[in-house]
Amino acid sequence: MSKKDLGLLILILVVGAVVAIINPRFLLPINLANTSNLIGLFGILSIGQAFVIITGGIELSVGSVVALLGTLFIDFIAVREMEWPLAFVLIIALGATIGLMHGWLITRLKLQPFVVTLCGLLIYRGVARFYTADGTAGFAFGQNFPELEFLTAGRSWGVPNSFIALIVIAVVMWVVLHRSVFGRYLYAIGKNEEAAKYSGIRTGRIVMAAYVICGVLTALSAIYFAMYTRSISPASHGQFYELYAIAAAVLGGFSLRGGEGSLIGVLLGTVLLQELQNLVNLLGIPSSLNFAVMGGVILIGVLVDQQWGVFRARRRMLEATRKGVAGAAAE
């Protein structure tokens, strides 16, 4: 774990301790379970985003994809009465397709990631709204899918299964990002795509794969979100989720210029964001300030991180200088 990650972890623990002192109910198992459920949902999303950010790209359509795929998933199983495993596979495939499409537009047709995914943001939500004729996709009363519900919204030994899913995914993705050749290429491309190309790497394919991973993870979390809310108004479902995901990555030490960041960082970023949301509600802070608190903490977080770096560099210099002067005097 890097120093950056450690700092974030400490921040999370300190904030948690303060909240627990003010309102001890913060530590109730039920509250921890609720919060870790949401950490699971947003964490999966954020890991996907992280893979794209590493390459120096960005995926702004995440929220709209959550809305579109969630709508379709509920529609498939509730209205069209598809078997849920089939629907599940279909949705994941759709997520992969969306990612592939974005990757293709970005790597083959050389469009900017911001532009491609901004258009995605606008288009997918529009399609979802059109699909439901601006209505709501939801389950009928009493419609139940025991296994699916257990897997998505259930708990094992008191721990939400969504959180367990996140942990599994995080472990796998940690290996992929930090230990595999593919992960190494991602970092390299994020720093210097030209050079990677000169080294004979098929950068296009690697970047495309990053978008596909993001698409798949987004689709997975879309299913989780759908099973969490059990009803989706495409006009508002998942709005701003891309910001949550990006914020988690940035808090976790990712640079939007690419080539920097760790998987643990993005996880901790997600945890901090969800802790903040929980805190606002638990401490009775007006919810209008919810986003403001989030924004403030992110800003302070990156500021401290940045200034800390500057401070350390300066201290090192000063020390060296002092040593030098002392040495010169001693001579």
């Binding site: 593919f182 990677a196 200088t321």
Partner: protein, 514 residues
Amino acid sequence: MNYSDPSIVASTDAPFLSLDGVRKTYPGVVALDGFSMDVRPGEVIGLVGENGAGKSTLMKILGGVTRPDTGTITVDGVTHDGLTVEASIGSGIAFVHQELNLFENLDVAANIFFGREPLRAGPLKLVDRARLRAQAAPLLKRVGANFSADTPVSALSLAQQQMVEIAKALSIEARLVILDEPTSSLPIAETDKLLGVIKALKADGISVIFISHRLHEVERVADRVVVLRDGMLAGTLPKSAINHDQMVKLMIGRMLKEREKAAESARPPGSVALSVKAIRTAAYPDRPVDLDVRHGEILGLAGLVGSGRTELARVLFGINRSFGGSFQLDGKDLVLGSAADAVANGIFLVPEDRKLTGILLDLSIAQNISLPNLPAHSRRSLVSASAEAATAEKQKTDLGIRAPSVQTRTGTLSGGNQQKVVLAKWLAMKPKVMILDEPTRGIDIGAKAEIYGLMRALADAGVAVLMISSDMEEVIGVSDRIAVMHEGQISGILDKDRFSQENVLLLAVGKQPK
């Protein structure tokens, strides 16, 4: 095929690589024009030519980075219309690019084996990190690196990065190694090591194409010299005929007396222009630097890789902060908060990394030249395009910048011509102190002589010139005095009568000359 050198035909070895009628055009320029050559196993070819002659273009074609418009490339008897990067690497061609291509966020070992990482068993393609480092270490030793395999590349100086590039090329089981100006920022000791490496490669039967503007290096290692002029083959020289004057003649079509051009100072040096007192830099915060540069002199600043010369130049130019110490310009105290302050005081810098800091590749020649002095090219804050063009035209003729027009994007110029643009932008203003960091890096011999002439003219006009250079001949041939840096400190200053390679080298490694 038309070989101008009969010895090739006589050879019994089949060529490993041959190029036939290769032509490459860019909008407005013909970079290569029906060029043919071949390379036999274990042969070291020196490739020389003026800036913009097409050397890098040729190598990019071999590296698979660009495709020729017409012509064929035959590798190992298989004929291609053009190579891809994969095909090039696959057929055993390793490549050190003229512009560095390393990943700052990875360590040295990862960079060396990038794209060819040793893997652990299993389908996951996990990197075997221990093996990676173990394999990197001997390569680093071979190129004479003084840093370890797990150093992050972001912590290396330019020259050290160049060593990593070379180690990378060595790591490929290559049959042909192409080195595009690998020594351009290497000082003499490291250069010697590299030349040794080339000889070792040759002994293993590996072919080498060695591109350099330092003709004496070419003289030392090449078995055959291929000279390019204006994209065409100007001629080849067999081993016996390789000498400095012959190469120059083929390159520029006439004889040139390079060293004489960098004329002696016309007048004795004047008062101290820039005085540096106990300045400390970020690279060596515990080492104060004292240095005086006088009006009308060229002060050469020599030193080994990473001795802190570039860092000092940045501090003098206000880009980086100094830790303690003071500057005086013409006896007056000077505070440099930014490069803008330095420029306002007539202190200019020609940086060593021109692609990143020297020029804006996307702007035209005229726009680059006027950039530091835009207010003088404007009326009521509005830019006057005609004033810009006039200034640029003058500089283009004065410096002999080779380009279709002053409106040409500088990104399309060859390295040497880009360097001239960097010089031009400062010459168009009135310098008091001119700092040049590796001013002739990647510059051809003709242009080099011109730049030496320019430097001398500046000095004669009373400008204080501080020239940082790793090229020993250049330092000795051009300077009026030589200051040598060793690990962040000035280890000594040599006056003209004590100029010798040996003295400079001794100071550079921290010893005192006799």
